[in-house]
């Protein structure tokens, strides 16, 4: 291990510290948290986890989050597929402006949209439903999915389309039976990143819901006060939100850069 590999190693240790500390706190009892600095839990307890997994207001929050994230992912990828194909294969009136407009939406600050969204979705009668958050998150997830899929699709030679048409496939049958299987890895990556960016967002998710669809990100804020009792609970809830990312990251490990860079690497 040459000397220079020391640098990434130190960096990874630095990255793991806060996660270790979160884990550490999630297994501590309340008074041990308050009593002071202990690098590992003296009294190992699963109380915080037990509370979260038994109290409906907690575990339902996870269910709500997973629900609207799943809806958003399916919606974003399904809608992005034909659009990405159009961008990758054809030049059409205003295609460059449309692509740029999508980029500007991916970069749009949630703060600018939070108030109008609340009014829009209330007027449409969708306030406090999964659909509201799922639809709101498409603002940045659809552009992301289009960019990533367009990157993958440009890797597939155009002659493949020609071959399928020559074989007699109509456009829909070519698209579903030939093209989608061919870029299945791309779809997997786009879905993963839509899932992630919807899962991590809080501002819109919190403000577009109240009770019926309250996501985990909102449930956690009510305990963010510094008093000891909630810290352990907060840590445990936090650890559980890391689980989806940790599980799925392995499947897209060779495409991580492509996903985050909007498919441009």
């Amino acid at each position: 291990m040459s000397r220079r590999y020391f640098v990434p190693l130190v960096y990874i240790i630095f990255l793991m510290l806060p996660i270790y500390w979160l884990l550490n706190m999630s297994f501590k009892t309340t008074n041990e948290i308050l009593s002071g600095f202990t690098p590992y839990p003296r009294i190992f307890t699963l109380d915080s986890y037990r509370i979260i997994l038994t109290d409906p207001t907690w575990y339902m929050a996870y269910v709500h989050s997973l629900a609207y994230v799943a809806i958003n992912t399916v919606l974003s990828v399904t809608v992005a597929l034909p659009a990405a194909y159009a961008f990758s294969r054809y030049r059409f009136l205003g295609d460059k402006h449309l692509f740029f407009w999508l980029l500007s939406n991916r970069m749009a600050p949630a703060a600018v949209f939070v108030l109008p969204f609340v009014q829009l979705y209330s007027s449409v009668g969708l306030f406090d439903t999964y659909l509201a958050v799922a639809f709101a998150h498409t603002l940045f997830n659809i552009p992301l999915a289009v960019w990533i899929l367009e990157g993958f699709m440009s890797g597939v030679p155009k002659e493949l389309d020609g071959t399928a048409y020559v074989d007699g496939h109509s456009f829909p049958s070519f698209f579903t039976r030939i093209f989608i299987p061919t870029i299945s890895s791309g779809i997997g990556v786009a879905a993963f990143f839509c899932f992630m960016f919807s899962w991590v967002e809080m501002l819109l998710a919190k403000n577009l819901t109240s009770v019926a669809a309250k996501p985990i990100v909102a449930a956690m804020t009510k305990t963010s006060s510094a008093s000891g009792y909630e810290l352990g609970l907060l840590a445990a809830a936090g650890v559980l939100t890391l689980v989806p990312g940790a599980i799925v990251i392995y499947f897209v490990r060779n495409y991580i850069a492509k996903g985050f860079s909007l498919g441009r690497v």
Partner: protein, 288 residues
């Protein structure tokens, strides 16, 4: 076969256009609508022209938030881009450990943004937090809830922890796309490591670094959740960045007009940098 011109392709793009328009154009119209009117509740509106915009442009608090935001984004870029590039350069080109490294490094990018805030909140507590206790033990008086310098240090450190891996990943992807032949040619030409970096790696990384810089600029320019959870914009308003300031205005009181004007100016700044991003990243499409 180059791209055929086919306006029927609009049919394929329509669904995306409709949904994103519903989410983007209608809200933006309401914001524009508010920004040129005045209301005192019970939703009567009176035309007020560009009054809110003039007020905003004279509002010291806006410039203070904008100033803090620019400083924060500047710090983020100054630290994360060189650090990310350095780490990527030190990574082994091939080997089993690489994918383990990359997965571990990308974990912070997958943490919900409020959990990032809470995590650092717990970490930085002066008496019981790992960072807080550690720094104080070293004799540095550190309390991020009261000292502006400590607050800034913690917020920037948190963002470095959260997003530097993105720069590492992009640079590493750029580096590994350089064909082996270039490194062999350099070896044969007797080039020293600095020359290899200067003449082979840097020119090839230009594209990737541009993406990293612009992505980091945009995302840090609209940071809200992590800061609000960690410091709530405090102590006082030392860490009240643009988004934090805007949300307090928008969801806070009745001044819908000023908040709307604020939103429009904020979005225009983002639009400007998006256009810069687009022209730099899409060299072929942009020209053709």
């Amino acid at each position: 076969m180059s791209k055929a011109v086919n306006n029927r392709a609009w049919l394929l793009v329509l669904p995306v256009f409709i949904i994103v328009a519903f989410n983007a154009i209608i809200p933006l119209m309401t914001v524009v609508n508010y920004s040129v009117q005045e209301t005192f509740g019970n939703n009567e509106f009176f035309w007020s022209g560009t009054r809110w915009f003039e007020e905003l442009l004279h509002d010291q608090q806006f410039y203070a938030s904008l100033g803090r935001q620019i400083v924060f984004t500047g710090l983020v870029l100054a630290i994360q881009v060189p650090l990310g590039l350095a780490i990527a350069l030190c990574m082994p080109p091939k080997g089993p450990w690489v994918s383990v490294c990359l997965v571990l490094m990308s974990l912070p990018l997958l943490v919900p943004w409020n959990v990032v805030g809470s995590m650092w909140n717990i970490m930085a507590l002066p008496d019981i937090g790992l960072l807080g206790k550690g720094l104080n033990a070293l004799g540095i008086s550190y309390n991020y809830t009261r000292q502006p310098i400590s607050a800034w240090f913690t917020v920037v450190l948190m963002d470095v922890w959260h997003w530097t891996s993105l720069v590492v990943l992009l640079c590493y992807a750029g580096l590994t796309s350089i064909p082996d032949a270039y490194y062999q040619a350099a070896k044969v030409d007797g080039a020293r490591p600095w020359a290899v970096f200067r003449f082979i790696q840097l020119p090839k990384l230009k594209h990737v670094l541009t993406i990293a810089i612009l992505l980091r600029f945009m995302d840090s320019f609209m940071i809200y959740t992590e800061v609000i959870v960690l410091t709530g914009g405090g102590p006082g308003s030392t860490t009240k960045f643009l988004s934090v300031d805007l949300v307090q205005k928008a969801l806070g009181g009745f001044d819908l007009g000023p908040a709307a004007a604020f939103s429009i100016v904020y979005f225009l700044i983002i639009l400007l940098f998006s256009w810069l991003f687009y022209t730099l990243i899409m060299p072929n499409e942009a020209q053709s």
